[in-house]
């Protein structure tokens, strides 16, 4: 099932949650909506699910207008951050719910329902919990049951709202992997919302980066990391060193110091973005920037150093391989291997 979202606008009072959003999701994709809180990602997901309606714009599933249908008629599986399990029902009944409420004409027989629930509980590897109640399960188990419940109605689309947000780090990692595998198995078009970049980059085929109700960039995880389209994406995804620079006549200046790097089209007050590990350390005089090492921490394969840049003593944090050990007090030069300059100081 393909999903097409066109010119969606959603306003809550004076707050614009979604500002002219366009998005196409291909059949069988696993897409991540990534952004800080208040970026509109959950609003967009709820509109696709039919839990909210946009003020303007269109949503279609396989070319068919979805806004004409209510949530129950869209055949969408929705997984909530806090599970939203029915606490008075056993795990089995929770999963069976979507099958039991079907109109009599299409409802499966009791035996068929039992078989289907069993199959789903096997799929989420929790068949042994069928008779427990939600309050007796751990967070990770609850979320897997919520997923099984959503899949029971054979949804054409699966939507997950911060599915792992309420879980602790270790369980979250496990479930991430597991969701990836599950998607490869059932291949239903899926969108999940997250504010965790690692989660988005690791799980999704494509990532949609959102900020302030707008889509900043759509691309593969590699794309959004290596070629951020905007200053926001560069700072939101991955760790970056950000320096305010001024560009005039094609020359980039940090304060009064000209940096011998390419402006890449930016003009006027701009920002220079460099990934922490993209700073080449060399002897004084051989790089665009110079500074003094203040503090060094080593862990694993890297050493992380705080460098005070000459001039205004701005502190930057860099990651360097350990083959050239740094010590506090060293005077060094820094040369960005890869960098981006975005116009504007904001």
């Amino acid at each position: 099932m393909t999903i097409e979202v066109r010119n969606i606008v959603k306003q809550y009072g004076a707050f614009k949650a979604l500002d002219n959003v366009d998005l196409r999701v291909a059949d069988g994709e696993l897409l991540a909506l990534l952004g800080p809180s208040g970026s509109g990602k959950t609003s967009l997901l709820r509109i696709i699910a039919g839990l909210d309606w946009p003020d303007a714009g269109e949503v279609s599933f396989d070319g068919e207008n979805a806004l004409a249908r209510g949530a129950g008629e869209r055949h969408v599986g929705f997984v909530f951050q806090h599970y939203a399990l029915f606490r008075h029902m056993s795990v089995f009944e929770n999963v069976a719910f979507g099958l039991r409420v079907q109109p009599r004409a299409v409802r499966k027989s009791e035996a068929q329902i039992r078989a289907r629930v069993k199959e789903l509980l096997d799929l989420v590897q929790l068949d042994w919990l069928a008779n427990r109640y939600p309050s007796q399960l751990s967070g990770g188990q609850r979320q897997r049951i919520a997923l099984a419940r959503a899949l029971a109605i054979e949804p054409r689309i699966l939507l997950l709202d911060e599915p792992f947000g309420a879980l602790d780090a270790k369980v979250r990692k496990e479930l991430r992997q597991w969701l990836r595998t599950l998607h490869e198995e059932i291949h239903v078009t899926s969108i999940f919302v997250t504010h965790d970049q690692e989660e988005a980059l690791e799980v999704a085929n494509r990532v949609v980066v959102m900020d302030k109700g707008k889509i900043e960039q759509i691309g593969t995880p590699g794309d959004v990391y290596d070629n951020p389209a905007t200053a926001f994406v560069h700072s939101f995804i991955g760790e970056s060193i950000v320096l305010p620079v001024d560009v005039s006549g094609g020359q980039v200046k940090l304060g009064h110091r000209p940096l011998n790097i390419d402006a890449g089209g930016a003009v006027g007050p701009s920002k220079l973005f460099v990934r922490r590990h993209d700073m080449q350390i060399g002897p004084v005089g051989e790089g665009a920037l110079e500074g003094t090492v203040r503090r060094v921490r080593t862990f694993g394969p890297i050493q992380r150093a705080d460098i005070a840049l000459s001039g205004d003593d701005t502190l930057v944090e860099i990651d360097a391989p350990r083959d050239r050990p740094l010590t506090a007090g060293d005077a060094i030069s820094l040369q960005p291997r890869r960098y981006r300059i975005f116009a504007g100081q904001e």
């Binding site: 039919g50 949530a71 929705f78 909530f80 806090h82 606490r87 979507g98 427990r132 309050s135």
Partner: protein
């Protein structure tokens, strides 16, 4: 050989249990025991005669039957009121919320007189109803009405906090799974509220059974027609037939206790099912 003293993370059991028992004894158990002692003045046959006389039986039927009916009505109306107060935002919501408590605070006689005036044959509501051939004041219907009036806050106040805690997300989940609105209400919302609903029902019922002040004004108090058991007790007292009065009281007490105990068990059962502490 001395056993190590038992230690608990929650000390003070002895003290609090002692205070509880003293308090309950002073306020509830001793007065109630007095009831039984006084009733024992009667022989068994006298006791049976008193409590099985037509007038007593009718009064008990009126009190328990109408209290039950009023509690049922309050259950339905209370749920609707709670729903409106919790789920919607409208001007005057806080005012309505406060109005719900008025039957708690209003002197019952005031309520009774107000209802009687309103539903008397020449009252604002009584007159149009009378033209339809429906008499409210001075009939069992009037008693029922007074019981509905005083019982409504019990259902609202017990269910309200539970509904507030009930996440809207579970309704959304049900909707996404294809449940109709009706299915969502009957299969998801009501079962989640059941323990609170039962408690509210039990409280409204208990209050209506014991209600005296508001009912006697509107009831008309005709023996064998619209006489409630608490009034019959007062009548027996004024006739100095103290043992007869306590006999009726004992029957009311035992019945009320059984019903409330049963409702409590039911409520506990619903609760453990909901929380599943199996």
């Amino acid at each position: 050989m001395s056993a190590a003293p038992k230690r608990s993370a929650l000390p003070g059991f002895g003290l609090s249990m002692g205070l509880t028992l003293t308090w309950l004894s002073l306020l509830i158990l001793i007065p109630l025991a007095g009831l039984f002692v006084k009733t024992a003045d009667l022989s068994l046959s006298q006791f049976l005669d008193t409590v099985t006389s037509n007038r007593t039986l009718h009064a008990l039927r009126i009190s328990f039957g109408l209290a039950f009916a009023a509690a049922v009505v309050n259950l339905v109306a209370g749920l609707i009121i709670v729903w409106a107060l919790v789920r919607y935002r409208f001007p005057g919501r806080r005012l309505f919320d406060a109005i719900v408590d008025i039957p708690f605070a209003l002197p019952t006689a005031v309520a009774g007189i107000a209802l009687t005036t309103l539903f008397a044959q020449n009252g604002w509501l009584g007159a149009p109803l009378a033209s339809l051939g429906i008499k409210v004041a001075f009939t069992p219907l009037g008693i029922f009405l007074a019981m509905v009036f005083i019982g409504i806050p019990f259902v609202v106040r017990t269910v309200q906090p539970v509904l507030i805690d009930l996440d809207v997300e579970i309704e959304e989940a049900a909707a996404c799974l294809g449940a109709s609105r009706w299915q969502t209400i009957t299969r998801v919302i009501i079962p989640s509220l059941t323990p609170a609903i039962l408690t509210g029902f039990a409280l409204a019922f208990a209050r209506a059974v014991g209600e005296y002040g508001s009912v006697i004004f509107i009831a008309g108090n005709l023996p064998n027609v619209s006489e409630i058991a608490p009034l019959l007790i007062v009548i027996r007292l004024s006739e100095f037939r103290y043992a007869d009065a306590t006999a009726i009281a004992v029957v009311m007490l035992v019945f009320s206790f059984l019903i409330i105990f049963l409702l409590n068990r039911l409520q506990r059962w619903a609760q453990t099912r909901a929380l599943a502490v199996s």
